[in-house]
């Protein structure tokens, strides 16, 4: 798993936010709320079905300084992995 490869000890926590079905701006609104619940350096995995989220999550991570570590699309579900700064 690529998410924890920099932390072989496995100390990085991964929290998942299911934002599937939500339309703009709710995926990033929920993400902004959820990122506060994870610790610095930990990961937040967001699942969404909103194609607009691809551009929005890139912009959100640039604006907030939280790193977009990984981004995939599997069967219509976008998955963004964000590392809290």
């Amino acid at each position: 798993m690529t998410l924890t490869e920099n932390n072989p000890a496995g100390t990085v926590k991964v929290t998942t936010l299911d934002a599937k079905g939500l339309k703009c701006p709710m995926p990033i609104v929920k993400t902004a709320q959820a990122i506060k619940t994870v610790g610095s350096g930990d990961l937040l995995e967001v699942l969404t079905t909103d194609p607009g989220a691809v551009a929005d999550f890139a912009a959100w991570s640039r604006a907030t300084g939280n790193t977009l570590v990984e981004q995939t699309l599997v069967e219509g579900v976008y998955r963004f992995v964000l590392r809290r700064k």
């Binding site: 079905g21 703009c24 701006p25 609104v29 709320q33 959100w60 604006a63 907030t64």
Partner: protein, 200 residues
């Protein structure tokens, strides 16, 4: 007197009060080489003037406000004129002190759940269809967006003049509404650095 040879320290010797002040200013502004490690990213701000109480204008106001607050912008929404009515409590039916203010509230029902559309209202049929479509496509309702915006710390500032003109009292308005302000307050916010301003 022969031509004096200026010594280095006498080149900027201040003679007048003005020169002394200028020199002091220059010295105080002299750049120090301390590294600036934090606060590199300036605080960004979004200021929206929400002037309309119509569904198709309140929605973009709330969507932009939510998105900006989610991105860490300090977000302020100045609500004025018809734009103030969505921020009356939903359960209030008639607001105002005199018959004309009450009549206005009767014609334009206040509250975030009672927005009309600017086009194709057709006695409520437009908003009803809008509501059906929003639910079908899982678009957040104005009420949900307002609650999300409040939770993210968006500041809603009512216009004092409109409050007076519509006869609105503090207890008529939603709890999250800030103190009433005037145009100068908004202009000052809008002209701050790193600030985007929208009139919707």
């Amino acid at each position: 007197m022969t031509a004096p040879v200026a010594e280095p320290e006498t080149i900027i010797s201040p003679e007048t009060e003005l020169e002394r002040d200028l020199l002091r200013g220059l010295l105080e502004e002299a750049p120090d080489d301390e590294p600036q490690t934090e606060a590199e990213t300036p605080v960004r701000q979004l200021v929206i003037i929400n002037w309309s109480g119509e569904f198709d204008r309140v929605m973009p106001t709330l969507i932009m406000a939510n998105a900006a607050a989610a991105m860490g912008y300090q977000t302020k929404v100045f609500t004025t004129f018809w734009g103030l009515l969505p921020f009356v409590k939903d359960q209030k039916r008639i607001v105002g002190e005199n018959w004309m203010q009450k009549m206005l509230a009767f014609m334009q029902r206040p509250g975030i759940s009672h927005l009309k559309t600017s086009k194709m209202n057709f006695f409520g049929m437009g908003p009803w269809m809008m509501g059906v479509l929003s639910r079908k496509y899982n678009v957040a309702s104005p009420k949900e967006l307002l609650e999300a915006a409040e939770a993210l710390g968006v500041e809603f500032m009512p216009c004092q003049m409109t409050m007076d003109m519509f006869g609105l009292k503090r207890e008529d308005m939603i709890d999250g509404l800030g103190a009433p302000v005037g145009a100068a307050t908004v202009l000052e916010l809008m002209t701050q650095p790193n600030t985007a301003s929208l009139f919707i």
